[in-house]
Subunit: 339 residues, 2 copies
DNA sequence: TTGTAAGCGTTATCAT
DNA sequence: ATGATAACGCTTACAA
C-alpha cells in the first residue's frame, strides 16, 4: 500500500483526482460511468478510487445534481397503529427488495397524529425524488395533491373513483372475491353468506361486489350479508347475526382472514363443522388463516408484489420513463381445508 | 398573499433572507433555533419563512454541517427472506416510532446476496450518522468493525460473548425461558420437555439455558430435549421424537411460538390433549400462537420496545450523550389456554 | 476527450 | 446580535 492509501480521513473526489493525475471533472465522469473517457484513464481513476477507498458523498452529489436518490414510503397513521399488520410488513419488504437493485434509498415516514404536515413538508422539501403512499384498507388519498409537485405512487385505489390519482398499484379485489365465491359454488354450496368489510374502504366495497357478482351470475340469492371492520371479533359477531337469521347457510366468504377466523369460533359455538356444514373462504392469505384449524382456504393478497411493483413504478416515473397510470395485480385462490 | 409568496420555485434560504431584510446567516440562525437573535427579527424571519413556504434543503445542510440526520437500519439477508417475520416488522415500527419524535430519518437497507459490501460502503460513505443492525435469531455481527468508524447499535447479543460489541439492546431470553418453565412447574408439571432452537443462535442457546436452570433449581430432570430450527415443521418433528421416546411428558416449553404450533399437531396426532395431557408454553408472542387453538401461553418478546430502544440509544450515541453499552429488555408471561 | 470554473443551498468563522 | 465570506464535495456547462 502506498503512502496516500493509508490516509485516515474520508477521501474526496479531489484526492482521487490528484492521485490519478487528472481533473475532478474526469473523476466525476468515471464515477458516473460517462462513456467518453479514455479506457486508460478510466482504469487509472478506478485504481485510485480503490486505493483510497473512495466513496462519493451523497449530500454533495445531491446538492449539485438536484437529485437525492432517495424515495419516501409514507405509512398512514391507521396502519402504524396496527403493529401486527402482515400486509404492510410484506409490502415493505417488497419495496426494499425492488430498491436493492437500484441506487435508491428508502426513507420510511410513519405518520403520527401531529406529523401530517411535517410529512408533507418533508416530501415537498426536496428530500426525496419521489414517494410511495400506502393505505391498506382505507381509501385515504390525502396526499393526492403532493403528486402535482413530486412523483407519487399510491397503493390501493381511492375510495371515490372520480378522484383521479395519477399513479396507483392495486389488487383486483373484485375478481379475487369472485374467485372465492365461485369456488364455494363449485363445491356445491347454494346458500352462500358473506361477512363484508367496511363500505368506506375500497377493498370492503370491492370484495362485496365480487361476491355479489359471482352469486348473481349463477342466479343465487345475495341477501346473506353482514358487516365487520376486518377484525376477528367483528367477524365472530357478524357470523352470529348470520346464524341467528335462522336461514340455512352452507358457505361463507369473509372479506379477510381475520374475520374468517372470528367466524370460525361462532360457527363452532353453534355446533356446526367446517367445512362440512359451512365451507369458509377468506381473503388476504395471512398467518391467521394459514395456522388456523382447519387451515383456511383463502385468496392470496400479493403484498410483496405490490410493494415491488410500486417501487419499480416510482423509479420509472422518476427516471422519466412512461408508465401505466394504474397497475392491477392478480390474486389467486389458495386451497386449504376449510372449503 | 404578496407577490413573493406566489413564487413557484422552491424557495431558498437566500430568498427568505431577502424578504425578511436580513442576512442569510441570520435566517440560518433562526431556522436552527440559535438563542442569540433579537425576538423581533426572529418573528420577521419566521413570517418570511411561512409566507414563502420555505423548507431547508437537506443536502445542502448535510454538506455544510457534515451531519446527515439520517440513520440506517440494516436487515440481514436471513431476515429479509423470512417475509412473515412479525418480530422484525414490529421492530421496524418501534424504530420508526421512536424516530418520529426526532429530526432523524430512517433508511432501510436490505441485504441481498451480493450487497454486503455495497451496504458497508454505504455506511462508511457518510450517508448516515449512525446505523442499527438487527440479527433476530442469528448472532451475526459482521458489522462489528463498522462500529469503529460510525455509531452502531446492535439488536441481540453476539453469539460469542468474547466478541465485544460496543452497543447492544437485547431481550433477556434466559429469564424469559425460566419464566415459562417455572409456570409449567407451578401448574404441576413434572416431566417437562423442551424443543430448543439452533445452538448457533444466541436465543436458541439462551432459551435452552433458561429452561434448564428452572428445572435444575427444582431438582427436575432436564434430559427431554430435542432441537428445531424455529420453523413449525421442525417443531412438529421434534415433538414426535420426544413422544417416540416413550417416556411420560406432561409439559413442553418450545423456544418459539412457531415450533410450539408445530408441536400442537404432533401432540394431536398422538391423541393427546392440550393442556390436559401436555401443557405447552411458547416464546415470542406472535400471531401464530395468539390465533392457535387453544390459544398459546407464551413469553412476550418486546419487539416494539426493542426497536424504539435501539433507535433512542443510537440517537443519544450520535448526539454524544453517554449511554449504557448494553440494555437488557424484560420479557413477560402471557397466559392463555395452553398452559 | 479532458480541463476550467461556476454553481448547488447551507453552515460556520470571522469581523463588526 | 448581525453580516460578509469562505468552505462543504460534487456536477456540469463551456472551453480548449
Amino acid at each position: 500500500m502506498t503512502q496516500a492509501g493509508a490516509a485516515g480521513a474520508t477521501p474526496t473526489l479531489e484526492m482521487v483526482a490528484a492521485r490519478a493525475g487528472v481533473s475532478r471533472a474526469t473523476v466525476s465522469r468515471v464515477v458516473n460511468g460517462s462513456p467518453k473517457v479514455t479506457p486508460e484513464i478510466v482504469e487509472a481513476v478506478q485504481a485510485a478510487i480503490a486505493e483510497l477507498n473512495y466513496v462519493p458523498n451523497r449530500a454533495a452529489r445531491s446538492l449539485a445534481s438536484r437529485r437525492t436518490h432517495a424515495i419516501a414510503l409514507v405509512v398512514p397513521e391507521s396502519t402504524a397503529r396496527v403493529f401486527n399488520d402482515p400486509f404492510f410488513a410484506t409490502l415493505v419488504q417488497g419495496v426494499a427488495l425492488a430498491l436493492s437493485d437500484t441506487e435508491y434509498t428508502l426513507s420510511m415516514l410513519m405518520e403520527s397524529e401531529r406529523s401530517v404536515d411535517k410529512t408533507r413538508r418533508y416530501l415537498l422539501g426536496g428530500n426525496v425524488d419521489g414517494a410511495l403512499v400506502v393505505s391498506h384498507h382505507t381509501g385515504d388519498h390525502s396526499y393526492a395533491h403532493v403528486s402535482r409537485s413530486l412523483p407519487v405512487v399510491f397503493g390501493g385505489r381511492p375510495l371515490d373513483p372520480a378522484e383521479q390519482v395519477t399513479h396507483t398499484v392495486d389488487v383486483d379485489n373484485v375478481h379475487g372475491a369472485e374467485l372465492a365465491t365461485r369456488h364455494l359454488i363449485d363445491r356445491g354450496c347454494r346458500r352462500i353468506a358473506t361477512i363484508a368489510g367496511p363500505q368506506d374502504m375500497p377493498p370492503g366495497v370491492d370484495r362485496l361486489a365480487g361476491w355479489r357478482r359471482a352469486l348473481q351470475e349463477e342466479g343465487l340469492a345475495d341477501d346473506l350479508v353482514e358487516f365487520g371492520d376486518f377484525s376477528p371479533t367483528t367477524g365472530a359477531a357478524a357470523m352470529r347475526r348470520l346464524l341467528d337469521r335462522g336461514e340455512p347457510i352452507d358457505g361463507l366468504f369473509a372479506a379477510n382472514d381475520q374475520m374468517a377466523i372470528g367466524a370460525y369460533s361462532a360457527i363452532r359455538e353453534a355446533g356446526l363443522s367446517i367445512p362440512d356444514d359451512i365451507a369458509v373462504v377468506g381473503f388476504d392469505d395471512d398467518n391467521y388463516g394459514a395456522t388456523a384449524v382447519p387451515p383456511l382456504t383463502t385468496v392470496h393478497q400479493p403484498s410483496l408484489e405490490m410493494g415491488s411493483t410500486m417501487a419499480r413504478t416510482l423509479v420509472q416515473l422518476i427516471e422519466g420513463e412512461d408508465v401505466e397510470p394504474a397497475t392491477m395485480l392478480d390474486t389467486e385462490l389458495v386451497l386449504r381445508a376449510s372449503a
